[in-house]
């Protein structure tokens, strides 16, 4: 049972344009959501997070949007840069149940110069 789903395995974007990565979840108990970035042969690195009491969180070029009614979140990267090329994972947790992170399958982003 895949509780966190990233339905697009890959995305290609032109440098300078917006990248939009999507994530859906099924467990309405999730109350905290995170995005991680992973380069080949490295561990994932934390990028940005959002609590379920908010619908938007912004950090520089990265913005995460949360639509609780649709059980959907998205990561926007503006403007996209070639160095953003990586696999992006969304993750979710239920904080009052210990905060175990459940990850999606990942979306490979390629930003072309």
């Amino acid at each position: 049972d895949q509780q966190v789903k990233q339905n697009s395995p890959s995305l290609s974007v032109q440098e300078g344009r917006i990248s939009i990565l999507n994530c859906d979840y099924t467990n309405s108990m999730f109350d905290y959501f995170l995005w991680y970035k992973k380069y080949p042969a490295e561990g994932p690195t934390f990028l940005i997070s959002i609590s379920s009491i908010k619908d938007k969180n912004e950090d520089g070029r990265f913005t995460v949007f949360l639509n609780k009614s649709a059980k959907h979140l998205s990561l926007h990267i503006v403007p996209s840069q070639p160095g953003d090329s990586a696999v992006y994972f969304c993750a979710a947790s239920v904080r009052n149940q210990g905060g175990k992170l459940i990850f999606g399958q990942g979306t490979e982003l390629s930003v072309k110069p």
């Binding site: 990233q6 042969a41 997070s49 905060g99």
Partner: protein
């Protein structure tokens, strides 16, 4: 060290042998996770330790897999009688008490031949 440290970085073993993978979390991090990523797949949750609570073992794929965390710090993931389908990158992560943002190590690439 400053980050999560995993050893070995690479391990090749023969089918049927036992292997031990080690994880040194960030000092002061009470939560510790093990995940694995098989080729072309997402991050599969294996086990979660949070302080002195009983570990969440719900992700362990079979009874050949076990993990310990000694003294609330170092963790060892043991796979007995390895099979070819166990080949994957095994990732360890740690986080502050009840903080969902987990920090990952570089992973151990396990190859069962």
């Amino acid at each position: 060290g400053a980050g999560v440290s995993q050893s070995p970085s690479n391990k090749v073993t023969e089918k049927g042998k036992d292997v031990e993978l080690r994880c040194d979390p960030i000092s002061g991090h009470t939560a510790l996770y093990w995940y694995r990523q098989s080729l072309g797949q997402g991050l599969e949750f294996l086990i979660y330790f949070q302080g002195n609570s009983a570990p969440d073992k719900s992700g362990l794929p079979s009874d050949r897999f076990s993990a310990e965390r000694t003294g609330g710090s170092v963790s060892t993931l043991t796979i007995q009688r390895t099979q070819q389908e166990d080949s994957a990158v095994y990732l360890c992560a740690s986080s502050l008490p009840y903080r969902p943002e987990a920090f990952f190590g570089q992973g151990t690439r396990l190859t069962v031949v």
